[in-house]
Symmetry: C2
Subunit: 299 residues, 2 copies
């Protein structure tokens, strides 16, 4: 089979054997918006020479701005329900092949104050399915995929039960690139562990995020934070608020992401006494193989 | 005397009689950065024909990027201490005149977790001094000056005792102009009271601000929030977090600001059972007159 991880900014293609082993791998920066109207041609070119009958895709390719919009599957759902939600179709440029796009997932939790807003994800559910065999026992497990829009995902008995999103990475980018705070920063500075830890500490104080952000400016004004340390301090402040809102009080968090990001989150979790286990982020091919199995396409 | 309110983007000049009554008023968009190196000439032109001996200024004109940097006066301080902190100087282009710039104020509160960061303001302290006579009794009073950087100021026995800043207005501008959320918004839409109230309600729920911001996107995705309602919803969410962090649990908040802004904050305060009293924002001339009296320059 062929597994395709097609997100907002790139396409990764994997050729898998029946057991899910990766036989070959290709990738291209095929941004979704740039591929509008020619998804079929882009895909055909990318998998040229791979003759497998089943092509299973996941990611934003199934969104409103993608090739075909695939409705969300609601929480809780495991591999079987997600596989059943896959959209099957054929494409003239790929005769004899069967194409599938995995659905995203939605959630609508209501809290103790009866306040709730919808949550969604596309792509992360497939990464989580790729990790399921590595999780110890039935759970509940807490997973965190840090990034532009960090996802916090609960898993129990092989099913995804809960989704929460935090716009931490996007807030960091906005504040460093466009705010008054960004003007005070040396943006090329590397990771400053002490400044990150100090930002985490500030996030545990009172006043709330809109108030605490101002400390990036005032600490600089009083010579207590250098322009080189300011980006790491801001990162600690924002990650701290993500954890304030979404991290469990105790236990273990499974991190899925790049080494640079998961190291930061490991430090942030350790600072509040939480265990972290970091996993490699290349899980989509495994997750797609699991979906193909659940749909009866392989194995 | 002449009172000058010189902020980041404009200069307002007032000619006052000995009792503080405004005899004449002028204003010009004299942005601080554009006036670098020629503050004296800009001021002389603006007060041309006004022969009063004392010129008392407040605002960012006393900051590092202003005409002369005036050190902050620490909390707690009242009119006498702030007046004593005014910088007096002369300017060759204004012979026979005595110029003063009011200091800003600083604060460093430490909370129960022993976490504290510095707070500062420049200009707002003078507005507050202009309001002192209108506050009922010795207090403590809570004042809120909403804006790009909202200020929350505590006043007791005629002294400013505490400062907190919330970057609410700047976050709103960043998110509407530069974020993924902004792309979903009709930015020309007017105030939508119901959407603002819904944003306030979301802010009282769990998850924290980086999480709740994502609901601007998902509510839109599920057809529950129009592009025209999204800016008001975002505003309610951000103002709600400002209040979560900085508003008192009970009592009255004195608002100083434009009618449009104070009306929004009145609604936000009412939603959590707090009283609001709105005051006009043109208080700086009165505050400067009070500083001149305290320094012995008039009356």
């Amino acid at each position: 089979m062929i597994a395709i991880d097609w997100g907002t900014s790139s396409l990764r293609a994997y050729r898998l054997d029946a057991a899910g082993k990766v036989l070959a791998q290709r990738s291209t920066p095929a941004a979704l918006l740039a591929c509008q109207g020619r998804f079929e041609a882009v895909l055909a070119e990318q998998i040229d020479g791979w003759s497998d009958a089943h092509i299973v895709m996941a990611g934003m390719i199934g969104s409103r701005n993608g090739w075909r919009e695939v409705p969300y599957v609601a929480c809780p759902a495991g591999a079987d329900a997600i596989a059943a939600g896959m959209l099957a179709f054929e494409a003239p440029a790929l005769p004899g092949r069967q194409l599938f796009i995995a659905p995203g997932m939605s959630d609508r939790a209501v809290d103790l104050q009866n306040i709730g807003t919808p949550e969604v994800m596309r792509g992360e559910e497939t990464q989580v399915l790729g990790l399921l065999d590595d999780l110890p026992g039935a759970g509940p497990h807490t997973l965190c995929l840090p990034g532009t829009h960090s996802k916090w995902i609960s898993v129990e008995h092989g099913r995804i039960t809960r989704i929460h999103t935090a716009m931490t990475g996007e807030l960091y980018a906005l504040l460093t690139q466009h705010s008054l705070l960004g003007a005070l920063m040396d943006k090329d500075a590397g990771d400053d562990e002490a400044a990150f830890a100090r930002g985490l500490q500030t996030s545990r104080g009172s006043g709330g995020l809109p108030n605490q952000l101002f400390s990036v400016r005032t600490l600089g004004l009083f010579g207590e934070l250098s322009g080189a340390a300011a980006p790491s301090y801001l990162s600690g402040l924002l990650v701290g608020h993500e954890l304030n809102g979404l991290a469990p009080a105790t236990g273990t968090v499974h991190l899925i992401g790049s080494a640079a990001l998961t190291r930061r989150y490991e430090r942030a979790l350790a600072a509040r006494g939480l265990q972290a286990i970091a996993h490699a982020e290349a899980l989509t091919a495994r997750g797609l193989h699991r979906l193909a199995r659940a749909r009866g396409l392989v194995g």
